[in-house]
Subunit: 110 residues, 4 copies
């Protein structure tokens, strides 16, 4: 897709990677571990993070100027999700994917 | 779903109705009419509107506090989409659904 | 949307209602009840049901002939989800929405 | 995500890559080229392909056994989309992404 800038392409990749990691971790690791992993605030945050990442990627692919707003919201939720996963522990992949996506989205939102 | 407030339930319904109307209108009426109906800025706005409505409904159903931010963005895109559909003409259903959703989302974002 | 048949419009409504009920029930009732409500097979089935309903509605709105296949799969998953919710109990709304959607989708798949 | 098999991880990647390529191509290249690129049957096929790829990836990440059915449908739509893009021409990226995804999904559906 020659039509999208390299920075935007990288951000789409980061969003899709974070979407996959959050959803996969929530529906496998968290659901199987139970306990605080399925506490409503944590689990909802994981699912909200997966959904906003999916949507931000979609907005950039559609090439709508509103992607700046979804990217800003995505950066915020990803940062919060990274912190919550780090607090609970055992989800290093998810922490990494969320931090990378937050940084990438922050740039696109600027 | 007894767990969600009546205002939130109404907003979810408005978002899903607007999602369906925008997507259905874009992929049928606009695509078949051609011309300015498939001009990139208009068509992208219709698709962005459908997607943010879908996502805002999702955030309210998940019951995440971040729904206030997706609802604010949804209200903005819906208002813009209503204006653009009114300008082009022949899409009264879409104008109505977008205005109703914008109003509903503005309340949830407050 | 004058362009879609009344039967298809009704099926879209049933799919979106079932999507909202399954997702809302999973992320509120099930997550808060815990126990067998968050047992991986049940919770995954609820989330798969929400997603296929969302997709089937999308396919009908796009007006692609492939909607017959997503509707067939949707009918199957909804029927299974209704049975599992009935088995666990306390989710009558979800059972009703799933059965209505299954019947509606079965007709569209024929 | 250690919990998913290497073949499933590869298929998720192929689905997300094909989703991004189809959606990005439709909403940029096709919309800007106009003509047969926005003919309803072609454009709907591109959008249906993007959506089923998104859904198949979601089903695998959720880890539901129903992913076999969405993967089978995904393989079919991707193959059809690849042929239609090849027929129109100038969308080699999309042809490649669709063929790779079709092959990957066919294996997961078996």
């Amino acid at each position: 897709m020659h039509h999208l800038s390299p920075a935007m392409k990288a951000c789409i990749d980061d969003c899709l990677a974070c979407y996959a990691t959050c959803l996969g971790t929530a529906m496998n690791h968290c659901l199987e571990a139970g306990g605080e992993h399925v506490a409503p605030p944590h689990f909802r945050l994981m699912m909200a993070c997966a959904e906003i990442c999916r949507t931000s990627a979609h907005f950039m692919l559609i090439n709508t100027p509103h992607h700046a707003h979804t990217c800003r919201e995505c950066a915020e939720i990803c940062a919060e999700c990274a912190d919550d996963c780090a607090r609970i522990g055992g989800m290093e992949d998810c922490v990494r994917a969320c931090r990378a996506c937050a940084e990438s989205c922050r740039k696109m939102a600027a």
